[in-house]
């Protein structure tokens, strides 16, 4: 007697795939539950300021910004662009915002959108020459760009040099601080999920899977890659722009290795290619690393260990595992 594990879609999942069959509350709940509950949790958590304490609210906020970076990483990965330097987006967004606020005294309501769009634009321009590269080569260039920019600022002493620019305008109140990143995260999460399922997203995924085939369809893949980098850059630069005003200072630490490694680890831990996965990954990783704050820079070593273990031992990621359990049931079948 030999047995083999068989996985089958649940009946309710099959019925829910078509919107016209949503005839019962049960089915609607089945479909809405995994979407609505996380959104509600995200929206309610800031209100519980008194319960969980201000410190953990700040951790929650930082988690949201890292989740944004992880989303932008995942979008680039959907086009086949493996980035090892999300700190580039974060840092450029942070510096543009800081510069606008420091030099022209613009209020945050102007500097954050300008920093987001301007930062994404600058990043796209910086990456434009290397978009012809694929896989490994692109990864190496992205790894070095933030390091180079930090070095450049240090050497030329522009934009405040090693000391950075301080004394930036703070946010008017704590609700802005708490809700802006949450809303941005939700917009990006559901926006990106929508985007990748449209025809447009199909082209992007096509470039990842077989760029020659896409080229043979008379589509300019470099133009699409540039657009994808810009969209990913918007998410990443927003995280930087927001954190600049939150910290009221921008310095070379905006290009730190943490901002490259954390989103990458979050994405790999949560599951690549789903956008929900990197978000889940960030929400596991950042609170965990906050608990490990005492060990200092050893945290990066700890992320590296998680990365290696996940890549080798858990390649599908947490989200894909959860989704499988939710949508499918398993049983042993006799194949003897």
């Amino acid at each position: 007697m030999k047995f083999r594990k068989e996985r089958l879609d649940r009946g309710i999942k099959v019925r829910c795939e078509d919107i016209f069959v949503l005839s019962s509350y049960q089915e609607m709940l089945y479909m809405l539950f995994p979407r609505v509950v996380p959104v509600m949790i995200l929206l309610i958590l800031p209100l519980l300021k008194g319960v969980i304490g201000l410190y953990w609210e700040k951790v929650f906020m930082i988690t949201c910004t890292i989740a944004l970076l992880a989303l932008s990483w995942d979008l680039m990965a959907s086009v086949g662009l493996i980035s090892l330097g999300q700190a580039l987006f974060f840092g450029v967004g942070a510096y543009v915002t800081g510069f606008l606020n420091h030099t022209f005294k613009l209020p945050p309501i102007l500097t954050i959108p300008l920093g987001t769009l301007g930062g994404a634009f600058i990043c796209t321009l910086l990456l434009l020459p290397v978009l012809r590269l694929r896989g490994v080569y692109f990864a190496i260039v992205t790894l070095t760009l933030p390091l180079l920019l930090a070095r450049f600022i240090e050497a030329t002493k522009i934009l405040g040099g090693t000391e950075g620019m301080s004394g930036l305008t703070p946010f008017p109140n704590i609700w802005v601080e708490l809700y802006v990143p949450v809303l941005a995260l939700l917009v990006c999460l559901f926006g990106f999920r929508r985007l990748i399922n449209e025809d447009y997203g199909l082209v992007l995924q096509g470039i990842r899977d077989n760029d020659r085939a896409v080229m043979s369809g008379a589509i300019n893949i470099y133009w699409f890659k540039a657009q994808a980098v810009f969209i990913a850059g918007v998410a990443g630069a927003f995280a930087g722009a927001f954190m600049t005003h939150y910290n009221q200072v921008v310095g070379m630490s905006a290009f730190a290795m943490d901002y490259s490694v954390l989103p990458l680890t979050a994405a790999v831990l949560g599951g690549i290619g789903s956008f929900a996965g990197p978000t889940i990954g960030a929400f596991i990783l950042i609170p965990l690393s906050e608990l490990l704050r005492a060990v200092g820079t050893l945290r990066v070593v700890f992320y590296s260990a998680i990365l290696i273990i996940c890549v080798v031992g858990l390649p599908e990621g947490i989200f894909h595992y959860m989704r499988r359990k939710y949508h499918q049931f398993e049983r042993m079948v006799d194949v003897g």
């Binding site: 990965a77 493996i82 090892l84 020459p129 290397v130 012809r132 590269l133 694929r134 896989g135 490994v136 080569y137 990864a139 190496i140 260039v141 790894l143 070095t144 760009l145 390091l147 180079l148 070095r151 450049f152 050497a155 030329t156 290795m257 490694v261 990458l264 790999v268 690549i272 060990v295 200092g296 820079t297 050893l298 990066v300 070593v301 992320y303 590296s304 260990a305 990365l307 290696i308 890549v311 080798v312 390649p315």
Partner: protein
């Protein structure tokens, strides 16, 4: 290391002929340094197709390992060098069997796994406090000579010598030994090589071991020029890639020519502009190469498919 070069150049730069001589000599030194760094990375990549992102980590690890053997365990210098090269080579070998074998062929996972390993090594040393000025490796031999009016210390002469020796060794190794021929066989056509009984996993693991050992050779001769700093680990990766992209990865003449171009371009930039701009040379070189000849100066069809 490069800043020190600039210092000497600017002090002695009053007479033009001396300045030109020093550009020629220090440009050569710099070129050999770049070639030494790039060779191990491109060897591994050329044979097994694994981009060893832990390269910078292995490089710095070699430096600190030698330092620890010399200062904690009081090893003689030569023994410390041999042990370091052996240990780092073995580490590369083990990395392949333990980590890379399981994710072979998935570019994303290979990149992330080796990158994480490299970052892990570098940041572990940062945490352990290996960031102060006491971490310097000794010169192989102290003293200097005057060549065409330019002072040049023995260490830099050694670098040139070891660089040339390594190129010669690689040539002989890949053309006249069984393992070397197996390396080339796998690099040229993996399936045919397999059908002739060459084991691809062994070859790939050995190529990783060789690449790592070469990283440690490079570290041991280059690091005495300055303080061992952890950020050099990231810099080394950038150098290896810049040289590889300009010359065409896996092509040894390409690596040499690209090292010469970049090495001289850097020294000239450092002399006539500011030393801060020397890092920008790499980026400019990468961008220019990709725009004009994306497969690199000596690249062949194989990497064209992969890269562009």
């Amino acid at each position: 290391m490069t800043k020190r070069v600039y210092g000497i150049v600017s002090q002695k730069g009053k007479a033009t002929s001396v300045m030109i001589n020093s550009i020629i000599i220090y440009g050569l030194v710099n070129s050999v340094i770049l070639a030494l760094i790039a060779m191990g990375f491109s060897l591994t990549f050329g044979i097994s197709g694994v981009a060893n992102f832990a390269y910078g980590g292995f490089y710095i690890l070699s430096g600190f390992l030698t330092w620890m053997l010399l200062n904690y365990l009081k090893f003689p210098f030569v023994l410390a060098i041999v042990v370091t090269i052996g240990v780092v080579g073995l580490l590369g070998f083990v990395t392949y069997w333990v980590i890379l074998l399981r994710v072979r062929g998935i570019a994303l996972s290979e990149v992330i796994a080796t990158f994480a390993l490299g970052v892990g090594i570098l940041e572990l040393f940062r945490w352990l406090g290996f960031v102060t000025y006491e971490f310097t490796l000794p010169y192989l031999k102290k003293g200097m000579v005057l060549i065409a009016g330019v002072p040049l210390d023995y260490q830099r002469l050694f670098i040139i010598g070891i660089g040339l020796a390594l190129v010669l060794f690689l040539y002989l190794f890949t053309h006249h030994t069984r393992i070397g021929l197996a390396f080339r066989g796998i690099a040229q056509n993996e399936r045919t090589a397999i059908s002739l009984g060459i084991k691809p996993d062994w070859t790939a693991a050995l190529s990783l071991a060789f690449g790592s050992a070469m990283a440690s050779v490079a570290a041991i001769v280059i690091l005495p020029l300055g303080i061992i700093s952890i950020n050099q680990g990231y810099e080394v990766l950038l150098i290896a890639v810049a040289v590889g992209i300009v010359g065409g990865l896996e092509s040894v003449p390409g690596i040499l020519v690209a090292s010469l171009i970049l090495g001289y371009a850097q020294i000239i930039t450092g002399t006539y502009f500011k030393p801060e701009w020397m890092m920008v040379v790499y980026l400019a070189a990468i961008v220019l190469t990709l725009a004009i000849k994306p497969s690199g100066l000596f690249g062949k069809f194989k990497e064209l498919e992969e890269r562009v």
